[in-house]
Amino acid sequence: MDQKNLRDWEARCTQEEPPKCKARCPLHVDGREFCRFLQAGQVDKAWAVLCKTMPFPAVTARICGGDCQNDCLRAQRGGGIELASLERFAAENAKRTPIIRALPPKGRNIAVFGAHLSGLTAAWDLGKKGFTVIVFCENKMQGLGHLPAELVSNEIIEKELAQLGKMNVSFAEHGKPDAQTIMAASKSFDAIFIDPLIFNATQFGLSQVDPATLETSIDFLFASPDVSGKSITELIAVGRKGALSIERKLQNASLTAGRDREAPFETKLFTNISKVATVDPVAVPDGGYSLEQAREEASRCLLCECMECVNNCVYLQEFKSYPKAYARQIYNNASIVMGTRMANTMINSCMLCGLCEQVCPENFAMQDIVLEARQDLVEKGHMPPSAHEFAFRDMDFADSSVCALARHQPGTESSRQFFFPGCQLSASDPGAIERTYAHLCSVLDGGTGLLLRCCGAPADWAGQKDMFGRKMESLKRDWESLGRPQIIAACPSCMESLQKGLPEADVISLWTVLGSELGQLSQHPELELLSLQDPCSARSNHDLMNDVRMLLSGLDITFEEPELSGSQTECCGFGGLLSNANQPLSRKAAEHRAEKLDHDGVTYCAMCRDMLAKAGKRCMHFLDIIFPDGNEDPAGRIAPGYSARRENRVRLKENLLRQTWNEQPEPRHDYESVAVEFTEEARTMMEERRILLSDIQKTLHAVQDSAQVLENTETGHKLIQFRPVTVTYWVEYEMKGGSYLVHRVWSHRMRVLGVGGNS
């Protein structure tokens, strides 16, 4: 990601855009922040929010007409927030006003003609910045004195005018300034601002005035077009605009740069109010709100923000921020030369499921940034080895000769199509594959081959472009060896992976095939209402999702669509290799999804099935229904652990070779004959620590005759270690009747070089 790219991404996340009230206010008062404090009863802090933005806040807060009220999103759910009354409440009830300190005089003199709201604002802003200002007027009460007394008392006005006096501003009360005086002043002052209620530009004989900057044809003289019909806050904004132009002019800076959002503007902030209930405004009593009433009214503020994606994703929630900030963290992570990359875990925890892009009004695709970041880490050699290695080993195992298989249908020499069940379905439910394959062979003409192997998705998800390329080349060779037939894929992730890596192949879903041969399927037992879980890899495959629903209906299976279904479905926590890189979060994701399914789940992804089952959710795979194995409670089928998944794949190939092709499978490895038993505790450890039965058997086998054994003199337990490749395994066991009983297992990646060192 380069800087321009980063900015493009950042611009698509609207979370940091201002709320409607702030965008609509001519002074851009932050009504959301103000209400946030008031909701908490923090009146002084709320008041400070106003003082930060408003000139002479004690007056402005009391006379503000609440220009924002109609734009407020709450207007669609009961009525816009009564911000004007709340501001007044804050002005009257704040105990402390922040001290305003003007900058020391800069030695530049400004003349302001007229002391109405615009002129006083210009004087306030300029004085605060250290310009020496003289306000020429008939009477300094000229503007404020006409304000309704019930809103602002003279005492308050005088206090604010006194504050102006402390801010490099003085008054010259010489009667109404005439054009001649003003023109004369241009010789003795560095710049001039004319309050439009004294003379607007036309009255002053200035035909050309830029409404965006108030610059006139006379250098250093700023005036406004006609202001009739403008609200109080708009008049104040005119003075503020003039002051800013004068400051820039005197600094020789651009008058126009970066001012496109000075006037009220349309914010891009999206706020979902579809679930917001209607609440009526708290009526404003004659004497203004009490504290209780103010808090209640402020509590109606929705504190507008987007967070659409974050609210719908446990991953985006986990790291306590939102995509705009994440994009920057990822950019920074990639830029680190020396030091710690702080965002690696965040980068490796995305499920790459794409839900964020679906729900984002600007289609912010976190998965695209994250995948690119992973590819970058891999390319530069900075990808943490522990993040995905276990998955790669599993993938290689699925593609190894003990699991992989590419065959034509027995008795045929060619395949019109072949079945590609995917390595996770083989791991989860090998029996279902045998039954499905037998069915496909019986109903489809032209020969139906079988291809058992991994589709390479893990390499793709891990950002390993080269590895994915190699996997796809090897898959392509298998496909070609079978005569480039149509591929019937059971797993939506496989479909996605094949479309990406083998675009020339004709890939069709198993569910589409079964749906078109409905009459060939046998009756299934009657089922209660089920909740349909669409896998995230089917999100953009509308034909697939449609065919799946047709198939379910064709089978008379009643199902409901959970909240977030179809193209807005949620990942089960397996996607993007999350379960490898961040197991606790993966578990959280599975539980989060499980909660949305009101009934027993039904899905067409083996990983969704197993992840939900592991999270304690009863869930069936389609094949549990279509080709049942006789188990009475398929929704309660236990998800096999890591070791059992491997064994399932091996046994699937062995069974198929024996029963379908009438062949003897290759002999098992020697280490597999090591007889080993486990305590319950050890079994749990193996699963949590991702240590496989084969790792333990290899360890026991490797050190069987070696001398490298520790013994515990209290328990009699033995302890051995073995490092097959990049991980050292430790196995603590006791001998029981000629077999090993394993008590504890652990592993580490660090290498022991030996005793000695140099100390």
Binding site: T340, M342, E711, W730, H748, M750, V755, G757, N758
Partner: protein, 71 residues
């Protein structure tokens, strides 16, 4: 390079079964991702077999592995 002390527990119940010697705290050199350090660990005084206890492997050692992976 100084030797770090990371273990407080007593591992004297473990002995090297082959040498029949109790394990002694000894300076051991460890390596991960091109970083090396010396740590005091229980080892056989004769054959030098080093014990990496479970709590070390899953605790401090795992932390350091992660830290080095993020470097």
């Amino acid at each position: 390079m100084s030797t770090l002390k990371v273990l407080d527990e007593d591992f004297s119940s473990w002995k090297c079964a082959t040498c029949n010697k109790p394990l002694n705290p000894s300076p051991v050199e460890l390596e991960y991702l091109d970083s090396r350090f010396n740590v005091e660990l229980p080892a056989c005084p004769d054959c030098g077999f080093v014990l990496i206890p479970e709590e070390l492997a899953l605790g401090k050692m795992a932390e350091v592995e992660r830290m080095l992976e993020d470097k």
